[in-house]
Symmetry: C2
């Protein structure tokens, strides 16, 4: 009788088929499965009740179909492909409800590779997760600004580009999860910072609350090269790229000698709708430009520096964590699809349950 | 009477108009000017009789016309634009015939930024040149393998890419001035090296005399991505790029995690005929690929290491300096135009006079 009481219904979001092109809400469906909360002591299994989930554009790359003739080991290297109907892993924060691992106790807050569901089964050594100390900051901060979003911004600026005080920094998707932190960090470091975004509201946010030196709405600009030349009459030293495509070309065309591009995303290229970036290689050579692809997990050695600096900035209110939080598992598909239409402002998060 | 005897006629090669697209022999003309060999002691002026001149594809970028709406400060940064009718500076080796600078004596061998002419007037502090110690090696070696060509290969491999023993290296334009040295240096360093070139003769040279592990004729390959996948079943670690365009895309598509591209040339893009490289930024990011434009003068700190290592390799015959030498000032236009049709094998040099 007691065993039966520990079986719950776990609802989750899965893809119906592989997604090529722009994702739509109808590409997803709700799936219900029985989940036993009765974990064997010593089994190492841990059941987590999901609280906040991170919704990231790069997850689309794992939802695509790849023909065998394509070279796709990079995708596999970054993260395993997601099959229709199977669980979708993504970063999140949750609470332990049952544990067969002495390291974790019921009630512990954890952060790691959860699922797009109400609950998830964690197997230490298979899926990364760890106990979370909220350090007095909202849990949602630990999904974006203090997790991959902020860490990507920090690693890109300081490790990849080694940005220096006084340098001129351009940030694309500047109202996005990574961009809004990258721009604020660059400002705090003494740089001149201009951001691009896709709505007037976002541009106002960048120039106002987030303290960028300037910002523009790229959708209102016919000639991005000319726009950047106007905003950077003395050239760009560092370009923080989350966009790829035409914006990358325009940035390269305006870069100074020994300019650096930190490329952490290429959202304009994920859906196959925008054209691929063809930065002028003659410019790249003569100006000794570096284009460096990177992912933040490669920079774990500076993770504690990042956490300490970012917590300080958040507590002293020198930095604002902008979050776009929707509520309930059912809102995942629209939140995810919205990323590709620029609907979000700041970090896109879905709150699954109240702590 | 004596003064008159010191006036000679100096013949040189100049462009008739700016060149856009493929250069033709008829874009150039011979120009004759009087040159006084009577230099004032203490004037600092030095007259050099040119012996060997380096003919480089990148010089085309200085011969183009640029509209004011284009961003062309990169070109100006690399080297000043060449105006029709005016002298064309390029690397070469010559002999001092008259000197108004106590540092240089008549008969001294010098290397530096000479002109495409029979004689040139050097002004220390304006044009770079220095006394040359031939170190018992042929003077032509000091135009290519021991000058920019070799130094670019050395800096690209060891400084830009930090190539390691056992890594898999792809070299494009591998029978060219830079490529044939880059491939040999990588082999001597213990790498697996494959080169691409545009004729059967060049491919045979790479696989035979130059000791590449393998080589292919890119003109016979319909699908460069598939070709590289065949030659590098375990992926490319380092791509030494002198070509840009489609080859760069294909190399990026086959690169391993943390792969590095040393981009020192983009000959397929100089004439505006080939399409610009659009490397897949999603691959660049997930595989953390670095694309780094560079020019060898940025690496002067390792110049003496380069000279010492390369002289050793040449003397011990572990390295072959392949040179394509034509004779006489009049052969400059055809030698230069030929670079864009792959007519040269190894370093293209014009011998102007016998020492």
């Amino acid at each position: 009788m007691m065993e039966e009481a520990l079986i719950i219904t776990n609802r989750s979001i899965v893809i119906k088929t592989h997604i090529n092109g722009f994702p739509k809400e109808t590409d997803f469906e709700l799936k219900s499965e029985a989940l036993s909360l009765n974990v064997e002591p010593g089994s190492g299994h841990v059941i987590v009740k999901n609280l906040y989930l991170s919704i990231d554009p790069a997850q689309l790359n794992r939802m695509k179909s790849y023909s065998t003739s394509q070279s796709h080991h990079s995708i596999q290297a970054a993260a395993a492909a997601i099959a229709p109907g199977s669980e979708i892993r993504g970063h999140g924060v949750g609470k332990v409800v049952a544990s067969g691992d002495p390291e974790f106790q019921e009630g512990d807050l954890v952060a790691g590779e959860l699922t797009w569901g109400e609950y998830c089964l964690m197997k230490p050594g298979v899926f990364y997760f760890r106990k979370l100390d909220s350090m007095g900051l909202p849990l949602s901060c630990h999904v974006g600004t203090l997790a991959y979003g902020g860490m990507t911004a920090y690693a890109g600026l300081f490790e990849v580009c080694k940005v220096k005080k006084g340098e001129k920094v351009f940030v694309s998707a500047a109202a996005g999860s990574v961009g809004h932190i990258a721009g604020q960090l660059a400002k705090l470091h003494g740089c001149y910072v201009v951001g691009s975004a896709g709505t007037t509201e976002k541009v106002e946010l960048l120039k106002g609350k987030l303290g960028f030196d300037d910002a523009f709405n790229y959708k209102e600009e016919a000639d991005l090269k000319a726009t950047l030349r106007k905003h950077f009459p003395h050239g760009i030293d560092v370009y923080f790229d989350s966009v790829g495509g035409e914006m990358l070309e325009a940035a390269v065309a305006n870069m100074n000698l020994f300019g650096r591009v930190a490329a952490c995303g290429a959202i304009s290229e994920y859906t196959g709708s925008g054209r691929k970036a063809a930065p002028d290689m003659v410019e790249v050579i003569y100006r000794r430009i570096q284009i460096q692809g990177f992912l933040c997990p490669d920079f774990l050695s500076v993770h504690s520096d990042f956490i300490s600096a970012t917590c300080d900035h958040l507590r002293s209110e020198k930095m604002v964590s902008v979050e776009d939080i929707s509520t309930g598992l059912e809102s995942i598909p629209s939140s995810f699809a919205g990323l590709f239409h620029g609907s979000n402002i700041g970090k896109t998060i879905v709150q699954i349950a109240v702590e």
